[in-house]
Symmetry: C2
Subunit: 356 residues, 2 copies
């Protein structure tokens, strides 16, 4: 089943209006959410819409938040998201970073009291049109076991970095700090396939190929997979994202991050407010003239893309290439939805009287 982009966008926006989001917030949130579907991160797009609605029903999402700066210096700010949709809080905060960068050269914003913010890359890419480098991190519900831990203490805590180029398309890295994102496991679950070793451990902390291992009390593994292959580095990266997003801002961190699913209650003794994000914007010309930088970025990209490829591969991929190609295709030919996702959206539409 494939639905046209604007149909899904309008549906998403109308649902968000129904739960009380102001017009501008509903538009922005729909834009952020759908960017995941366009870029092929199907787990973070409309498939999550009813999850956000259930959090709103539980009063864990505030549809009319008073999002504001609570502390600042020339190049930094802390933003309180007032329990708003992360899809709205994050663009607000990234915009603060961009405005700071205009005068101070760079801007760095840590956010508390937010919720799931969609794909990390969307917010990092906001910097591109300003000739800035953008960074976007977020923590998330604990699904990942640090090296040597049986317990899940970290989220998949993504890092996104967007870097402008000249003639070439921008460099856009957007990655979970785990071996594989949870969405990839879900694909294997649907196919009833095994997961590669290094993706998952069981509830006793032993390596497992069971694609349902996380659901059974196991954990996703940090990038690297095991100690011998550098999982302590993936764990450190996830930890840095957690600390920048939440310990700097006053959000919940580590195992205290509230779960995305509404049927699980947040920890009754939180260490902060909501979940946290971290954003950065660096003006290119705060370092060197933008035209010089972009010329060298083009050279960088061309040299890497044209490197001698390994057998069976046609070329080296520049981060962001596959997502951009998919986006161009899906804008034209529509967004494929799995039957359960389509059914879920129809149910949501019926409930709120919104036509899909």
């Amino acid at each position: 089943m494939t639905l046209e982009y604007h149909r899904l966008y309008t549906f998403t926006k109308n649902i968000l209006l129904k739960i009380g989001c102001p017009e501008q917030d509903a538009s922005k949130a729909a834009d952020v959410l759908l960017s995941a579907d366009l870029r092929g991160v199907d787990s973070h797009g409309v498939a999550r819409l009813s999850g956000y609605v259930r959090l709103w029903e539980k009063k864990r999402i505030n549809a009319v938040p008073d999002i504001k700066i609570v502390h600042e210096t020339p190049s930094t700010a802390v933003v309180d998201g007032d329990a708003g949709l992360g899809l709205v809080v994050a663009p607000f905060a990234m915009n603060v970073a961009i405005q700071k960068a205009k005068t101070a050269g760079t801007g760095w914003v840590s956010v508390k009291n937010s919720n799931h913010y969609g794909i990390a890359g969307y917010h990092a890419m906001m910097a591109l049109e300003e000739d800035m480098i953008g960074l976007s991190f977020t923590n998330a519900s604990p699904l990942v076991a640090p090296t040597f831990s049986k317990e899940r203490l970290l989220g998949t805590n993504p890092i996104a970095v967007a870097i402008p180029a000249g003639q070439e398309a921008p460099f856009v890295a957007d990655m979970a700090t785990t071996t594989a994102a949870n969405g990839k496991l879900e694909i294997l679950q649907r196919k009833n396939s095994d997961a590669p070793t290094g993706w998952v451990q069981d509830q006793e902390g032993r390596p497992t190929k069971d694609a349902n291992g996380v659901k059974k009390g196991g954990a996703l593994l940090p990038l690297g997979g095991d100690r011998e292959h550098g999982s302590h580095k993936g764990y450190a990266l996830g930890a840095i994202v957690d600390i920048f997003s939440a310990v700097l801002s006053g959000a919940n961190y580590g195992p205290w991050v509230p779960p995305f699913v509404a049927f699980l209650e947040p920890d009754p003794n939180p260490v902060g407010e909501g979940l946290g994000h971290f954003f950065g914007a660096m003006r290119i010309d705060a370092f060197r003239p933008a035209s010089e930088f972009k010329g060298h970025m083009d050279n960088w990209i061309q040299r890497f893309r044209n490197a001698n490829p390994t057998d069976g591969n046609s070329k080296v991929i520049i981060p962001g290439d596959p997502e951009r190609e998919l986006e161009q295709e899906r804008i034209k030919s529509g967004i494929p939805l799995l039957q359960p996702v389509y059914d879920d959206l129809c149910g949501l539409g019926d409930k709120f009287g919104v036509e899909l």
Copy 2:
């Protein structure tokens, strides 16, 4: 063979004085270099001293550099290292980042025209005594093949992040963006042991267990090891380090980074000057009161350290713990040197009339 720290420090400093470094630079460079030996990164310590000297003999290192800021904004600067020792250029640049952070909240410095800067962690840790978070990246000679590339286009491009805590010791991550650092391969080479799969590819880009695979024209692999285990993420991280360090500053990037070994000539058509670094300093209280932050960092560290460990492991490790423990031990009981390293230092001492 174990040598007392101060003996090695004095020797290193005296050698650097002999090649013409000013007193203060020789002290700082010896401090930086020896911190690697203390923290167990033996590949980056005195074992490299004669390598630096050979670069000076080739006139690729300037012992009396005029290190200066060539561009700046309130929160950023570009530093020209004037081909000085990276061991001297890097602390200069990190200090610029720290001074910027004092007024702007954060400071971000990209460096060109530098050389190998020792361990990344040293410079990041300079921020700790100022109640700041420190970041330190550098690019390096190309030894790493991006995912799907036969060619070596990136260095082991480390990321170091140092975060202050309160009662607990600071969080200090310092990691190559490869599965394993080159120093770990050298250990296997000396033992004539195989490397685990996922560390190295051969010159045809195929996985190999040959610990000498890189020397034979192969490459180190990005963190993740192969595409299925997320090597495209390690590649993206190494690329981000390269771009922040060199494309932002005007240094050489990717395959153009000059080799550390003096017997290999730099590319005759460079794309920039020397190699590049990137430093960041973020004042904690530019986000929230430092005492609040440190209390939560203590809680973070204690929760992670006391997590239920997997069988056969006594506890979860906080990044920086092993290096700090080793440092405490080696300050007391001395620094172990391999015979070839000791012989090399003796030769260097004879050549310059410096007693080891």
